[in-house]
């Protein structure tokens, strides 16, 4: 029964989104429509789509699970996700919309020698997007296999299916289809979360004091069988000394400075007609994202109090907390609904990542780096983007299958945010606001931030560690050695390194009169919207 129900919901989501893709494909006949949905998306539509692009399975399933297992410390993840949008709103969104065309690199390369800056910016974009995508796909594969247990849909089939769907959305429907997939997914996700929250509160007779009293005494069994009763509102269940506090700060830095450097979020602001609409779309996104993350209180603590750690651990582990809560509280049909939402969530996020990666390859690498900014034949850039989407998708499918369902991929998400915060953000900010900034500064900032993030992750506890002999296969640390860097999130160190690289490169490089002169131009564009890309009719 529940299996059929989940499948039916999965398939209806796929049918609806493919219908949208078919509709969008007839409107993707120009570059502005393929890459930027003709810049005709409205504020509320883009706001919901930004929220849809942003609220990944890591949020919906991951944070609910972290709260269910670690209480308050899990909720700490929720807070930074909203506050991060203030950086987007106040510093990045409007200048980006005013000064750029299709990609993040448009703004970074504006004043500089375009080829080296675009090349580096594109490497950074592709790194962030593909690593984030692989993390999502491994998650999707294990989730689908788990949700459809007994249906003979294996991990490999699930990963391949998700991969093919995201390629189809992007290749045929471009930005317009991707946008509507995000919108539908975000509405489903919010609806599911509200419903689940109401059911949790109904369980506690709509009494917040009763709910919070239950949170104050959550019980579960330790591995040795001892019964433990803990106040789950107390900080420190996950982030323990000596490095816990630093880890919290480092995580916060990655979120606050990384979100405004995530290429798949930034490209969304090119889909609206002007900077003012971009501003209102961030506000819409903040309303939705904030409401969602506040409600993780009900999802996570609800799972901790009503379902319990013991039951979740036996039935699929942390990531199954939200679906299991749905099952325990409202039965199989609701479980199917929540599972389908989780699936839609992953599908929408990977589609957003695919389009930002392939746009960057086509527009930055192919047209601007390889061919000096000239599209040799009409539609070439779109064709290259479609091929790139196909290749990126195929690579992500292959890597996700090789890694397998048990691989620890959380560090790939940490890496994506670290690169966005350490490489992209310093260079975005300096490009828009610092007159003296030059080409060598931009290249060094991107390079230092990227390398620092990757190296610190590689020598950190996500990759290095000594496992007991009982830990087998992909769950083992790839390098059996005590970690050299103590934090899972490198932001605390890699973000200052990124900024230092940008400063160092600027002062060591030659003064760049053209970059200074073009700054005056960029400053006018960024602040007034003069000469910005306009919306186009179909």
């Amino acid at each position: 029964m529940r299996l059929d129900m989940t499948l039916v919901l999965f398939l209806s989501f796929i049918a609806i989104t493919l219908g949208i893709t078919a509709w969008a494909s007839r409107r993707s006949g120009s570059s502005a429509s393929f890459f930027a949905a003709n810049r005709q998306i409205t504020a509320w539509q883009n706001g919901i789509a930004v929220a849809g692009d942003y609220m990944s399975a890591a949020s919906f399933l991951g944070i609910a699970g972290l709260i269910a297992f670690f209480g308050y410390d899990g909720f700490m993840y929720s807070v930074g996700w909203l506050v991060a949008y203030l950086t987007v709103l106040l510093i990045v969104a409007e200048p980006l919309r005013n000064a750029g065309k299709y990609t993040m690199a448009d703004v970074l390369a504006y004043r500089m020698n375009p080829r080296p800056v675009r090349a580096m910016a594109s490497i950074s974009t592709l790194t962030v997007s593909t690593f984030y995508m692989i993390a999502q796909m491994v998650g999707a594969g294990s989730l689908v296999a788990l949700l459809l247990k007994g249906s003979h849909i294996s991990y490999t089939v699930a990963v391949t299916g998700v991969g093919i769907l995201m390629i189809v959305y992007v290749v045929f429907g471009g930005m317009l289809a991707t946008t509507w997939v995000q919108i539908i997914k975000a509405i489903l996700l919010i609806a599911g979360t509200i419903l689940l929250s109401l059911l949790v509160m109904a369980h506690f007779h709509f009494s917040l004091p009763e709910f919070f009293r239950a949170i104050a005494q959550v019980s579960y069994h330790a591995p040795d069988g001892k019964l433990i009763v803990k106040d789950f509102m107390t900080p420190g269940l996950r982030f323990k000394p000596p490095y816990g506090p630093l880890e919290l700060i480092s995580l916060g830095m990655a979120l606050i400075f990384g979100t405004a450097g995530l290429p798949h979020i930034l490209v969304r602001f090119y889909t609206v007609p002007d900077a003012r609409t971009a501003r209102y779309s961030v506000v819409w996104a903040m309303v939705i994202i904030g409401s969602f993350y506040i409600m993780t209180t009900f999802l996570g603590f609800g799972a901790a109090t009503i379902v319990g750690r013991d039951f979740i651990a036996k039935n699929g582990g942390t990531n199954m907390s939200a679906p299991l809560l749905a099952k325990v509280i409202a039965g199989d049909v609701f479980f199917a609904f929540i599972s389908a939402i989780a699936f839609a969530t992953i599908l929408a996020v990977v589609a957003g990542l695919t389009i930002s990666a392939s746009t960057s390859f086509a527009h930055d690498v192919w047209t601007n780096v390889v061919h000096n900014g000239v599209e040799r034949s009409p539609g070439e850039e779109r064709l290259v983007a479609r091929i790139a989407a196909f290749v990126v998708g195929a690579i992500a499918i292959a890597i996700a299958i090789v890694l397998g369902p048990t691989a620890n991929v959380a560090f790939l998400v940490a890496l994506a945010f670290a690169v966005a915060a350490s490489a992209n953000l310093p260079v975005i900010v300096f490009s828009i606001y610092w007159k003296r900034f030059n080409t060598s500064g931009a290249v060094c900032g991107l390079l230092f931030g990227l390398v620092a993030s990757i190296v610190l992750i590689l020598i950190g506890p996500s990759v290095m560690g000594i496992d007991a002999a009982t830990v087998v296969g992909a769950a083992r640390h790839p390098i059996q050695h005590a970690p050299i860097f103590p934090l899972e999130n490198p932001g605390l160190l890699s973000i200052p390194i990124g900024f230092a690289g940008a400063l160092l490169g600027t002062f060591l490089g030659a003064r760049d009169p053209r970059a200074v002169e073009r700054f005056e131009e960029l400053e006018v564009r960024a602040n007034t919207g003069l000469g910005s890309e306009k919306a186009t009719a179909h």
């Binding site: 709103l89 106040l90 750029g100 919070f212 916060g252 003012r276 501003r279 506000v283 602040n527 000469g531």
Partner: protein, 125 residues
């Protein structure tokens, strides 16, 4: 910021529109108004946000204090972050209405001087 500049040789027709805007009093006021809002607000939300992980990380006992029935300070402070973020977003949108007015004014001045918007925005990047 707005350094007065002489005729731009690149355009061949006197000053470029970028230079013209840089010279305008409204543009200077626009940049100033933005700076006066964005810089202190950014400092405030960054400090307010990082106070949370710092306090939770380094003063967990203090933050565990129950202040509202079964609800502790740590949760209330975390929850307050959401409302502070929304409040700042609202304040920014209000302040930005003023920025938009400067923008409209600048564009009107340019148009009066013969600038044609339709000929613009087609330049490739």
């Amino acid at each position: 910021m707005a350094t007065p500049r002489t005729a731009d040789a690149n355009t061949g027709q006197g000053k470029s529109k970028w230079d013209r805007v840089q010279e305008m009093e409204e543009f200077r006021l626009l940049l100033l108004a933005k700076k006066e809002f964005v810089v202190p607000t950014t400092v405030f939300f960054v400090v307010y946000y990082f106070a949370l992980p710092v306090l939770v990380g380094y003063a967990p006992e203090f933050m565990s204090r129950k202040v509202l029935g079964p609800v502790n300070l740590a949760y209330l402070f975390a929850l307050s972050q959401f409302f502070v973020a929304w409040g700042i977003a609202w304040a920014y949108v209000s302040a930005a209405r003023k920025f938009d007015k400067y923008g409209v004014h600048i564009l009107e001045t340019l148009k009066r001087e013969g600038y044609d918007e339709k000929q613009d925005g087609k330049r490739g990047l």
